[in-house]
Symmetry: none
Subunit: 224 residues, 2 copies
């Protein structure tokens, strides 16, 4: 999924949020979530480094507990705009306006909502695999199992490929038909992407692979 905020945008938006008064890091997270109607929730790993940088640059002031670098933590650090922070916002007023419009539009988009919905639904399918896998695990095969595993896997793979082939043909047909009517929308492509992504996760989940994933697997060799 592409980032919600482009390069310097989150940084700027945090300053804008602080215009309403001092906030904790966590408050900024929840406020952002609220403004996006729940479709986007920035992670802590997004917010805190940004706030640390802004403090470093003197645009915000952090109060109360120990510095973030030290092991001493102390809950609830409050951030507030410095004069330099206010100046930055005024200097980039055009960017601020543009950003606010862009956020509003993102929120309006239904596709995001649907996307999240679909993902949630598909996530649940993983449970099916877990259940069946558990059953297989807890109920070991009766009697001695010679070695039919290999040949079985092979024939099963054949079945899987057939299922996949059929699916592809069906979707292709749907697509062609819709195209004639000129009704293929961006939403279709987006949904396809999301759904197939989830599908692949589910399928991979049925194939044993360690969760800690020791294999480096050089599958990052081709840029796009």
């Amino acid at each position: 999924m592409p980032p919600v905020f482009a390069h310097g945008e989150l940084r700027l938006y945090l300053l804008v949020l602080l215009l309403d008064g001092p906030r904790h890091g966590y408050e900024l997270i929840t406020e952002l979530t609220r403004r996006f109607g729940g479709t986007y929730r920035p992670s802590a790993g997004t917010i805190y480094p940004r706030l640390a940088r802004l403090e470093e640059e003197g645009l915000v002031r952090r109060s109360v507990p120990g510095e973030p670098g030290s092991p001493g933590v102390g809950r609830k650090a409050t951030y507030e705009l410095t004069p330099a922070g206010h100046a930055e916002i005024e200097a980039r007023f055009d960017d601020v306006k543009r950003l606010e419009r862009s956020v509003a539009e993102t929120v309006r988009s239904l596709a995001d909502e649907v996307r999240a919905d679909v993902r949630d639904t598909m996530r649940g399918l993983r449970a099916e695999l877990a259940a069946a896998a558990q059953e297989v695990r807890t109920r070991p095969r009766p009697g001695t199992a010679p070695d039919p595993r290999r040949t079985q896997s092979n024939s099963l793979r054949h079945d899987a490929e057939a299922v996949l082939q059929r699916f592809r043909n069906d979707v292709l047909a749907d697509l062609r038909e819709a195209d004639v009517a000129g009704t293929v929308s961006a939403l279709t492509v987006e949904t396809l992407r999301t759904v197939l992504d989830s599908a692949r996760s589910a399928i991979r989940g049925t194939l044993p692979h360690s969760t800690t994933s020791p294999p480096g697997r050089a599958d990052r060799t081709e840029p796009e």
Copy 2:
């Protein structure tokens, strides 16, 4: 939602998990998630207090960084069973066995719930997606730049086909790899079937209902 673990169950299950060796708190969270197929992910607020208590009772030993009570944090605390911890497990062996059965059953029933749920959700989702698609279609896009949305459907279809193609290649690759290891199971085929079914529903939902071509389309003629 009712708790997944009853009163002392999580406590006991954590000890069982530590039988496999020392673990960090976070590792225990992910391991539990894995065992429940993603349907249950204990929050940090569930795990860490429990571990702290277990340490207090002398059933586990915590190593490396500062005490949890103090503000000093220090990443990565490792927990391991003490002799007393091992003794506890042995003493409550019956409970352990019962718990393991119960977990397996819980997972299975959760899966059933989800399975039943998926169809419903998908059904509702179809309507939602259709509505969204309708809106997108009838009201091109107000905010963004003036697009020449002439052969848009056609180009979009091209995108969709590319996505589909890539998905097919990826899954085929997964299948081949798994086959070499002989790990393609009936479960894989079953999951594939279910997931692709749901996927197709979602995709079709974004396309207008083609009343001219009912479900006919000879998709039940293949023997299995």
